[in-house]
Symmetry: C2
Subunit: 274 residues, 2 copies
Amino acid sequence: MQNQCLVNGQPATTVSITDRGLAYGQGVFETILVYQGIPCLLDAHLTRLEQGCARLNIPAAGLRQQLLEDLQVLKRPSDSAVLKITVTCGSGGRGYATPETPAPTRILNLSPLPDYSDNPDQGINVRWCETRLVCQPALSGIKHLNRLEQVLARSEWHDPRIREGLVCDTRGYVVEGTMSNLFMVSGSVLHTPDLSQAGIDGIMRNEIIRAARQAGLKVEVGQYSPQQVEAASELFLCNSLIGIWPIIRLEDLTFNLGDTTRYLQSLQLQRKET
Amino acid sequence: MQNQCLVNGQPATTVSITDRGLAYGQGVFETILVYQGIPCLLDAHLTRLEQGCARLNIPAAGLRQQLLEDLQVLKRPSDSAVLKITVTCGSGGRGYATPETPAPTRILNLSPLPDYSDNPDQGINVRWCETRLVCQPALSGIKHLNRLEQVLARSEWHDPRIREGLVCDTRGYVVEGTMSNLFMVSGSVLHTPDLSQAGIDGIMRNEIIRAARQAGLKVEVGQYSPQQVEAASELFLCNSLIGIWPIIRLEDLTFNLGDTTRYLQSLQLQRKET
């Protein structure tokens, strides 16, 4: 399939060099799985986008409607695809001062799904990253454009057999993967790190929490050390594109693809509509 | 004067929506005073740009030469002007993973100097910001494109009589202004905050430290509480565009424009060539 790009509803592949998304990272983005032509979990993605805009002083009134209209302009892909939506504060303002009435920039980019033909959903190798995520509650949770910590963490390894790295915050608690959220099974409880200080509040993470509770599983959100993660009986990573990737190796430790992970994978939550 | 923009040496005002500067803030920038047609302190600015590239895995071999060639393409402005140089990691790579051989994007934007006809160099009012800067040694010092903390700090006030806000780090130490570095005079010593954990290592700041030492002044770089800043006999802010702005009011406290500040202002360091 060919990429399709829209900027503010018009076919375009560039933005102004004065855009505050480029200058300061004043913007947010979503990476959405398009399955059988339908953007999955769209409502949740748009809601997080709106919440991020509010945190970054980007006006979001009417934004959802505009984005839904933009989506109508795109040709529906026959294969699975990735839809990236970016919303920035647009151009203007004086230095760091946000313009009084910002004119946000909407960027849609529909592209082919990455090649996962090596079936990472059967289990992946991961490592610990040395890069630490800072604790900044003013920015935690939202998927903003200031992602240098993730870029630095991802630059720590080049071995293609390692599919993801786990990252701790500056206090030493485990937060997430560079591009995914982390879950662990200990006993009969599903655990996932608290994201109030650092990390991205993943759409798939929330779907998994909801589905697990609905299935009667106990889910705890807390602060976990690397040692607690390493002591788990099952580990898996998730995001909107990959669904669930079980971890079968973390550095020198091996893990089984266990029943809880298999059950949650079987729900195919990443393909849900709405 | 009219803006003049170049992208990779060619007249252009846009960059690709896939540029990693926009997507992740993987890039650095410099804001340079152009005085009587000459970019001031150019060598220091280009050196900091190169150092920032090295920290962000952006190859900088040949970059300085390319930027100097780009500068030859720009028409020399007759008035004072601002030259903003941005260098990003360019497009490509897979998600956060930096491409194996990045093709950086060079953006030059020459624009009029902001209007300072109210003579802020005679003294300005400033305030304390509530936004805290995180301590991230991996990113401190360099002028990278992840500037949401500055945007949030600057959004804390709208009163145009307040020209700048002072920002502390998460430990409570004073770091800098939202767009400037801070100096204080206590007794016969010039003090300025240490920037190893947070903040931008300003070109003007370094010029001031050098000039002050050359003039026989004692200069100390350290960790200072807001109370220590408030107890100073003179306070001033600096950056490459404004030179030195004395602080005459900080919240309810008033300060004199003192001899040390006046002396350093008289050197007109911001207009230095090289």
